[in-house]
């Protein structure tokens, strides 16, 4: 971190600042110029509150050189984190496909789809029980009842389940859930993130619609600072001016996250594009870009799905896709999906 100090800053102001910074374990490095005085901060500057420094009257500007995250930072953890879910590994060369319907609708629906996607190579089952919807009048999910049906599908197929939490007060209902998903709209629900830092279960953290990669990593940091190191990041499209696709899938986020962090990162092509026929090309592209996995919406009857039908692919299309993925994965040094 570099502080540019204003002209005429008093020596005692500088001394006080340096003493305070040292008390936090940060070394400083002062260079006094004719027009500007620069104070370099060296060490673990993630503990330093940037806004607070910016607020000091003699500070002209604050520029971070190092990232403000620590637990999620590859510099301090050079090796890839591998998250294990029900015997499947994700990260570090292991690629997994999570599949299932947008919403749980009935026992028959979720169990049928679970069996189909398992056959086609999926190693985890997704399915929404609590659904964040823009309109209070839209279907809000089967909620607690939906979670029960997911657990039935898990029982039948052995597939671990991934489902979204919308409020920390629902945590008791999620005890048998294998991976808890934080949706894009809750990426900066900091109270929820803090609670998830205190449990010992993998968290699937989706990038917010208008959030930067650094903000995503800061949200992972919230969870990890609480002691929960099992975070799987998910790129699911960001808001841009393009209207043909629902959002714009930022695949360059994959190599960027790989460079900045050791956490596994997967891609959600279904929500990103909102269009079933874009799922295949974007899945192949995600794999080629180095993603550690995919989360894909599959529905046995897309036109009658209760929500997000237009973005769900059929079990058959899903089965073809996993075969094609297996042709791409070895090119980028990933293990193939077991089919």
């Amino acid at each position: 971190m570099i502080l540019v100090l204003k002209e005429n800053t008093q020596q005692n102001q500088i001394d006080n600042l340096i003493t305070w910074l040292k008390s936090m374990g940060v070394e400083t490095h002062l260079s006094v110029g004719k027009y500007q005085t620069i104070l370099g901060l060296v060490g673990d500057t993630s503990v330093v509150d940037e806004d607070l420094l910016q607020g000091l009257e003699f500070v002209e500007s604050v520029k971070r050189i190092q990232e403000p995250f620590k637990n999620a930072n590859r510099k301090f953890h050079p090796d890839d984190t591998i998250v294990e879910v029900g015997g499947s590994r994700i990260g570090g060369g292991y690629f997994q496909v999570i599949a299932g319907p947008c919403s749980v609708e009935s026992e028959e629906q979720i169990c049928t789809i679970a069996e189909e996607v398992k056959k086609a190579g999926a190693t985890m089952l997704r399915g929404g029980a609590f659904k964040p919807r823009t309109s209070p009048y839209a279907f809000q999910g089967m909620r607690a009842e939906g979670l029960k049906l997911l657990l039935k599908a898990k029982e039948k197929t052995g597939l671990p389940i991934v489902t979204e939490i919308m409020d920390a007060s629902h945590l008791p209902l999620f005890e048998d859930v294998d991976v808890i998903q934080v949706g894009a709209r809750n990426m900066q629900n900091f109270e929820l993130l803090k609670e998830l830092g205190h449990i010992r279960k993998p968290i699937l953290l989706k990038r917010g619609l208008a959030n930067t990669i650094q903000e995503l990593l800061m949200s992972a940091e919230y969870i990890m600072a609480g002691g929960n190191e099992q975070v799987i990041l998910c790129e699911r499209g960001i808001r841009t001016f393009e209207t043909y696709t629902r959002n714009t899938l930022d695949l360059s986020a994959i190599p960027v996250i790989k460079e900045l962090s050791h956490l596994p990162v997967i891609v959600d092509p279904s929500h990103a594009t909102g269009i079933a026929r874009m799922v295949r090309p974007m899945s192949l592209a995600a794999a080629a870009a180095g993603a550690d996995g995919l989360i894909i919406e599959v529905h046995n009857d897309p036109p009658h799905a209760k929500c997000d039908g237009p973005q769900s692919i059929t079990p058959d299309a899903f089965a073809s896709l996993t075969k094609e993925l297996n042709q791409i994965l070895p090119v980028v040094g990933k293990k193939e999906i077991a089919l």
Copy 2:
């Protein structure tokens, strides 16, 4: 709402759809063309789930003509809603200024500032107790302790208080709070919005950083659908490519919201710009654009504020500002601030 149906749609598919729509109280109006068949939906279409219709295999596209919100819609409530807080009215020609520090820091700080801003024309006191911060290592607010100090300031000055809630589970702590604020990052925390629909207290709902006006109104609709009609909307800047200001204040949102909704709308120039010296021009501009009020950060010692110091103005600057506002307000048909 207009549905464009695909060529070759079967008559029985159309009939079933029409029957189902009628069962929800929506009238339909079919026009069969050579190339396209168009089904117009008339009546209260806010109950219709757009995604569900889009998911039908014979539907080519769905286009809303009417807004998907109802309680917040001016069409159904032509008169301005006036929200009363501690004797002050906001909306319907009444303009109020809410002022106070970003964060509550100490009893002395909050009480001093409260007295100063009251003298200068503020009719409500703002102050953060629970603070949403991007970094888990940044100051998170005094939390419950901060709420107590706010209530002491209220006791001393008589100013009603406005403060942010970050999680529905904190609601019991907010019993004596006058206006509960929902921050930009929680604008689509739907579980929180639902809970706030069940209380009977004004809610100050801030627009999300990348949300449209319609999405803001849909979030207000969540609160209102629960029975709480006292919602004050707040424009606080949106994310754009401009980096000089923290966000970009969208003042055209004011007349747009006034046209679409009957709810009062205020402006937060402090968070929008992040720069103290932009607060005055943006406050005057907000008043000229027709806002019903302002929420402004005032700190007696901005350089030493625990957060957001650079965007806080001094009590003196605040006092000058309210005088200038009183020169603008009559031009746009608003009552002057009592000074």
Copy 3:
């Protein structure tokens, strides 16, 4: 400008760099730390090519402290630039309203509107002869013929004219035009900007739809670097996710530009919002924010305007507006419009 050098940078690499920088008149200031070496550049760094420095293998990062523009920079020209057009001054406390139709359509149309807006306080006439249109099948303007009609209106009313140029090769046609407008889509048409730097006529430079304020000032710098100091900047709305208004008017750009630059800045509420009924509130807000003027679309018959009818106001609405503006202008230290 601050260069952060990589660890293990060789002394001779640093020496060569310093020698080269000195040859451009830039002083340097080296501070060698344990982990990082920082090279501060002092003086006129606008001549330094940031990308070139970034490309050096031993440079980790380049951070600008000073703005990369010079002629447009208030630091080097503390006094407001006042641009004179046909006896009217804009900037430095002088506020002007430019008005007229989106497109020139006929001699009668342009002359009638010119007379009406002149009566209502406009001191310049706008009117598009060359029209940038997204579709090749849309009306492209009357082109050279339109310029002739504008000059007729000027002859009749004495109003100086403002009209858009789309290609440098058209410059000979613009000889009698008073102010040449560069449209938003051409803000970074650098070859055109260079040509406009060689003429001696005021240029009205519109901000691009997705450009930052700094980029706008860099485009002004292109014109000024060629010797033409008479640049009027124009905020006309930027692209955001909001769809209700055509673009989002960034009024905070006004005080920001005033701080960074000495050039006058005006606002175009008609193109920014695309909605006639938003022109009044946004015009008043722009004046309150400190703008030096407005450019407003006025049409005697908006529903039949050949383009942009929905955003044009009538001469009567325009006349009411200038009266209201005169109530706002004195509050912010501007001279009133002569009515």
Copy 4:
């Protein structure tokens, strides 16, 4: 196209509108409802000016059902367009890699790089002679001299050349250039596009930084409307809030463009990311997403490149990349690069 007419629209207004639309060859289809009257327009509606209809006082809203482009539209040209350049085909299953330095710097530089990239599988040479730069003080390219050096490299290696034009008046200099590039900032320089419609040479049209896919296709339409059907589209990253990469590569644009248009589409991973080490993963992802080719910056000495060094890869890295691409291309039905 669907027009929603206001209540109380007069019959004669409707009749006049229908007569006028018929005169342009557009059929209409009226359906009168209790609350709303809807007029459907059928046929080639690309000739209809949407703004003009929107401007009619009795029109409430205009909604396009069909795309406003025609020559670029796959509906009217179902087969892929294949563009031939110097014996190489691009589109329709043929994949080409264009490579070379950002800027032409010297005869030796351009010829050396040309030979290297040719050996590694490139079939066209790129190199900037006219360089659009944000700052007037940055290196502007060797201009006419640079074009001569490109032609020397073509002579030596036989590689056709691709280079950017910045102004229509430079066209005479481009007579021996094989593919003329229109840069992102000129995507809506409509006068330039019109000129390029009159020549008979392939045009490489880059998507603007904040433009939608439809706007890109409308710009292609400008060129094609002039009679030049050889347009290659290029996705080169769009502006988003992400700052780690220079822009955000929108790879979902590939399948979207393939669906909407018959034109070939290539990807520029170098400008999109601005980071050399992101070029490989993004190139592989682009191929997997179905792109028809790539345009990649290769420099024999990236740290000393005159511009954009940080985003250029070395010839060796380029040679490895083309080998990897050949493992991806057959998976998505493309012919391999001849190595």
